[in-house]
């Protein structure tokens, strides 16, 4: 099983940030299967495609990323959401983490910062679940996968 097979959804109201994140993901071999421009679109898109990982902006029109994260996590408790926002918005990042986000990247970000957070999220949260699902499918019975404690992932840029 490879993390490069991950399906990613990018949520941001800025087409430039969306394009940048998509380019970074594609360069890494991840598959961006959906993009959304606000929180409301993100909820609908999540139901439709159920990605392995979501990058979520916080400040967006119609519905912000914190509210969208809360909705998605209520409906899909295993959703893996990483917040992407500006320096200075750390108090809102904290709200997002309380709403169920699993990490954050602060803008302006370099590719390596984003990669680090995503790969940590993959190893800590996503791969154990994928492995569990694969074993269950193969053996037809539930298995216990030992996951690390869910400490929020920061980008280490400060």
């Amino acid at each position: 099983m490879e993390i490069h097979a991950l399906k990613v959804m990018v949520v941001d109201d800025s087409p430039i940030i969306t394009r940048k994140i998509c380019m970074m993901m594609e360069m890494l071999g991840y598959r961006v299967i959906k993009t959304a421009e606000n929180g409301l679109e993100a909820i609908a898109a999540y139901r439709e495609c159920q990605p392995d990982l979501v990058t979520m902006d916080i400040t967006m029109p119609v519905m912000d990323g914190i509210e969208a994260t809360r909705h998605i996590r209520r409906e899909f408790p295993d959703a893996n959401i990483i917040m992407v926002t500006s320096h200075g918005q750390e108090r809102m990042v904290l709200d997002a983490l309380k709403a169920g986000a699993k990490g954050y990247v602060l803008k302006p970000f370099q590719q390596q910062r984003l990669v680090t957070v995503i790969e940590k999220a993959c190893h800590r949260f996503i791969l154990p679940g994928m492995l569990e699902a694969e074993i269950m499918q193969r053996e037809g019975k539930p298995v216990e996968v030992d996951r690390e404690v869910a400490v929020p992932l920061g980008d280490g840029s400060r």
């Binding site: 394009r19 400040t59 500006s86 803008k107």
Partner: protein
């Protein structure tokens, strides 16, 4: 919601916007912004240039930040922010506007570190809005402006702070 704000708070927000804008251009794009002209109050028009982005600070801060750019500077920002993109002709204008909006959003995010103490809650910002150049965005009777003009080798940027007349009225 504050409608009566001490001048030193307005100066703090304005100075933060100027400093963080200079820091951003210097750090991210190795570009120096100089020749700062300061008018704390009494400027009666927002001095809009060719492309203007507006972001509101909510809660107790209750002010609007207006960043207005000359076309040549917009061109430079667009080039920096879309490095590696292969924009189709129909995408260019949308991405020029998005580049300006993203720059202003990032700068103001940094600014909230400087005046977070003005509000006990997190300072919420609106998403950036790019003004239609044909529109007047405020009724002039209800607003006064604080303004800085920053120059770079790529062109000029005006930064204005806008609030209701009441917000600016009290002298301390």
């Amino acid at each position: 919601m504050s409608t009566d704000k001490p001048l030193h708070e307005i100066e703090l927000v304005m100075q933060s916007m100027v400093t963080k804008t200079q820091d951003y251009f210097e750090t991210e794009h190795q570009t120096c912004l100089t020749d700062v002209d300061l008018d704390i109050v009494g400027v009666d028009e927002p001095a809009l240039l060719d492309m203007t982005a507006v972001i509101g600070f909510g809660g107790m801060v209750n002010l609007w930040a207006v960043f207005s750019f000359q076309t040549s500077l917009v061109d430079a920002v667009y080039a920096w922010m879309t490095e590696g993109f292969q924009d189709r002709p129909e995408e260019v204008e949308r991405h020029r506007q998005a580049a300006i909006g993203e720059l202003v959003n990032t700068v103001l995010g940094h600014c909230t570190l400087d005046f977070g103490h003005l509000d006990s809650q997190a300072i919420h910002m609106t998403p950036p809005v790019i003004l239609d150049p044909g529109n007047v965005f405020l009724e002039m009777n209800h607003a006064v402006f604080s303004k800085h003009c920053l120059n770079s080798k790529y062109g000029r940027l005006n930064i204005c702070l806008v609030g209701s007349q009441e917000v600016f009225h009290r002298k301390t």
